[in-house]
Amino acid sequence: MKREGEVRIPSGCAIAAVISREGKGITGNVIYNAMKPMHDRSNGLGGGFAAYGIYPEYRDLFAFHIFFDHRSTRKDCEAYLKERFEIVKGELIPTRKIPQITDEPIIWRYFCRPLSSQVASEQVDENEFVAHTVMKINTGMKGAYVFSSGKNMGCFKAVGYPEDVGLFYRLEEYEGYSWTAHGRYPTNTPGWWGGAHPFSLLDSSVVHNGEISSYDANRRFIEMFGYKCTLQTDTEVITYILDYLVRRQGLTLEEAASVIAAPFWSTIASRPEKEKEKLTYLRQIFPSLLITGPFSIVYSWNGGLMALNDRLKLRSMITAEKDDKVFIASEEAAVRVMEPEAENFYAPAGGEPVIVRVKEGKF
């Protein structure tokens, strides 16, 4: 069977997220336990997490999480990294052997600082430099796959059910202010570790439940701007789109949301003049970034997250609150596990972004 990247793989899924607006630490077991009641939304072919604020001691360094098929690949890759970065620290990511998770690749993490001379010679900023590096490794270096590349954050993913993946990565030992989780139900993959979600680039990561119908329109457009959709998954393309719109075009999250889950023309027509003009403009200039078909996503970055449904709300997604915490999940049950006392349950409308930001200075 072809694996992610060789063929487009649609999948159904479960997602969950929790974030503390105060930047308070939350241990990983909270989120992986939340995935248990949604067990049936996954099929054991992929689970994963993104955690923010987990590497405070290396907060200024890019943390690369990389899968290697072989020791030799790691050598080559490390050599490549060293040409471009100062590697402050490189280590195996601690895991625990459990029967549910098998066939794991070699999983390393590197805390790196870009070599300023290299950055300067490519005439890009640090982020762009890192993004290029990731693209380069993931497209050019067979057997190596960077699955996390942001600062003070990390993705953890594997083939297996999400709750098992959490145990495997010993996530209860990490403390972060924001977590997202994903359980995967792909329909035609043998299961590949790199193909599990979240998908991330730099510090942004996306968990997604759905199967978008606009995929190839989105992909072929975004690939014009240097992105390479190596996995051919929705999550990957959505991550790139958000990266392009927010980081490269400088749109606000709300603006980005009204590009990818644009209001219908009929809705736009009924809005006040100024807003109408703006929404029309955004649809006019980014038509290829409209995402259609079902999706519910949680897009995270250092300091916040945004939950968003497709404009017809073809996938379930619910939000809730308790004190400083905000919870998001495909199903209410997941929230109840994280916080039995959660309140203000709310099902956001299609295309209505729910944006949560950690207080300035708290992360």
Binding site: Y215, A217, S288, P294
Partner: protein, 501 residues
């Protein structure tokens, strides 16, 4: 010397048991095929004149007529077909270039028919267009590379001029002169009602149709007929015609006989003079010349109107399109080798150019590879025959399509392919007032609107099936297509997988 006799292509079969001798056929045939013979008390036919336009058949109230292909054949020969032999006879008779009309009728591959469309099942839901909004609006024109904000951080929403269409289909260029006043009136009125555009072609814009300006694309072709300040100002967009799919590499020739009255006035040439469009624009011998014309037209229209450059699909179309995309043009229109025409040399029509499907796929991919797809919108034409073709074209990467033959069919054309005779019995490709009158624009525009409404419904159904609720998400979405019976090379060019993959 007696010219070589060519047996009539068609037979007029009249069922005398049904014929009530109302003589409608006789009155309606501009070719004078039918005649009532008072001595015999019968309707009789002269088949040598019949072009099989089916006007008589359509109007015969008792269905007493049919026209069939004559089965009088030459001796069978797989190499020398009847048609080939007869063409040789004709040329031996006349010594001239053979002329034909409408699109290439040869059995060359139709790639639309070798691509199949996807639909959603289980993993993602089809969307019911009867329940959910299903959007077909498109904007054609250059998109900015980067958003801009003012000092308050507000988005600056100004864009390069955009052509807004309620659906990604337009009526392509057909000049007043090659088609009739009433045909133009029908197209203009329908385009306005539909919120799309029609195209003047190179014959200028009749003064009566300036009111439809917001839905009019005016053409600037090599003959520059009818081009003046008001003409450019009246339009929604200006199209520079570099070539035409039916006859790439050659110009046009509207005989003086058709340059009468309003046609002459609209073209701004004397009555009775032949309207010759040179093969090249004589001020465009290179891509940089084109750029100059693009900007001349933009200057003339104060940068308020998108400029379209229309080219025929030829072998290196991708490179040509890349050049145009960098010329300042807002939109590229590509016309495939099956595109129609009012008259073209048969050999050119049938042997020059490439299929639009391959041209489109190559151009769209090339522009993306170069990262300049956003510089231009792509319109394709040249035998887009149905809503399915539209959907396939958009999925391959077109922003919109041009239809002409389908529009003419809606107006009554029966594809007899003798436009060049000027005796169109359907009132379309003629300037004879008696014949022009046969096309009532009330009916014509209604039928065009019906056709486009029907296509819009079908496009929505097809989109809904794919789980797509806006045409933007279909554009360039080649995963929605699968090939059948195509070679690996064809699939590669089309950028699609084979069915089953």
């Amino acid at each position: 010397m007696r010219e070589h006799f060519i047996y009539p292509e068609f037979e007029v079969v009249r069922n005398d048991n049904r014929c009530i001798q109302c003589r409608v056929c006789e009155r309606q045939c501009a070719n004078e095929v039918h005649r009532f013979d008072t001595d015999l008390g019968l309707m009789i036919s002269d088949e040598t004149k019949c072009v099989n336009c089916q006007r008589c058949i359509s109007l015969c109230p008792t269905r007493a007529l049919k026209i069939v292909k004559s089965d009088c054949r030459l001796r069978e020969n797989a190499n020398w077909s009847d048609e080939t032999i007869k063409e040789i006879y004709k040329q031996a008779n006349s010594g001239g270039v053979l002329l034909s009309s409408m699109g290439n009728p040869k059995p060359l591959p139709v790639y639309w028919d070798k691509m199949l469309i996807n639909a959603s099942q289980v993993t993602n839901p089809p969307i019911d267009p009867l329940r959910e909004p299903m959007e077909t609006k498109v904007f054609l024109g250059k998109k900015p590379d980067k958003i801009r904000r003012d000092e308050n951080g507000e988005l600056i929403t100004e864009t390069a001029p955009q052509l807004e269409l309620s659906m990604p289909v337009m009526f392509s260029a057909m000049s007043y002169g090659s088609i009739s006043y009433n045909a133009h009136a029908s197209l203009a009125r329908a385009a306005t009602e539909l919120g799309i555009c029609y195209n003047t072609g190179e014959g200028g814009l009749h003064e009566d149709f300036y009111i439809y300006g917001p839905n009019t694309i005016v053409q600037v072709a090599s003959g520059r007929f009818g081009v003046h300040k008001n003409y450019l100002e009246a339009a929604a967009a200006v199209e520079i015609k570099m070539g035409q799919g039916a006859k790439p590499g050659i110009g046009g020739h509207l005989p003086g006989a058709k340059i009468v009255g309003d046609v002459s006035r609209t073209r701004m040439i004397p009555e009775g003079s032949d309207a010759i469009s040179p093969a090249p624009h004589h001020d465009i011998y290179s891509i940089e010349d084109l750029r100059q014309l693009v900007f001349s037209l933009k200057e003339a229209t104060e940068y308020k109107k998108p400029v379209i450059v229309k080219v025929a699909a030829v072998h290196n179309i991708a490179a040509i399109a890349s050049g145009i995309a960098r010329s300042g043009a807002d939109i590229i229109a590509i016309d495939g080798f099956r595109g129609g025409t009012g008259a073209a040399p048969t050999r050119i029509r049938d042997n020059v150019g490439i299929p639009i499907e391959l041209a489109l796929a190559a151009v769209d991919q090339r522009l993306r590879d170069e990262g300049i797809r956003n510089n231009v919108s792509l319109i394709v034409g040249g035998s887009v025959r149905s809503a399915a073709d539209v959907v396939k074209a958009v999925a391959l990467g077109a922003d919109a399509v041009y239809v002409a033959t389908a529009a003419l069919l809606a107006l009554g054309c029966h594809l007899c392919r003798t436009c060049q005779s000027g005796k169109c019995n359907w009132g379309i490709a003629t300037q004879n007032p008696e014949l022009v009158k046969r096309l009532n624009p009330d009916i014509g525009s209604r039928r065009l609107v019906n056709l486009m409404d029907a296509w819009r419904h079908e496009i929505k159904e097809l989109m809904g099936g794919m789980g797509i609720n806006s045409i933007e998400s279909l554009r360039g979405n080649r995963l929605m297509l699968r090939g059948v019976g195509l070679t690996a090379k064809e699939l590669e060019i089309l950028g699609i997988s084979h069915a089953g993959e």
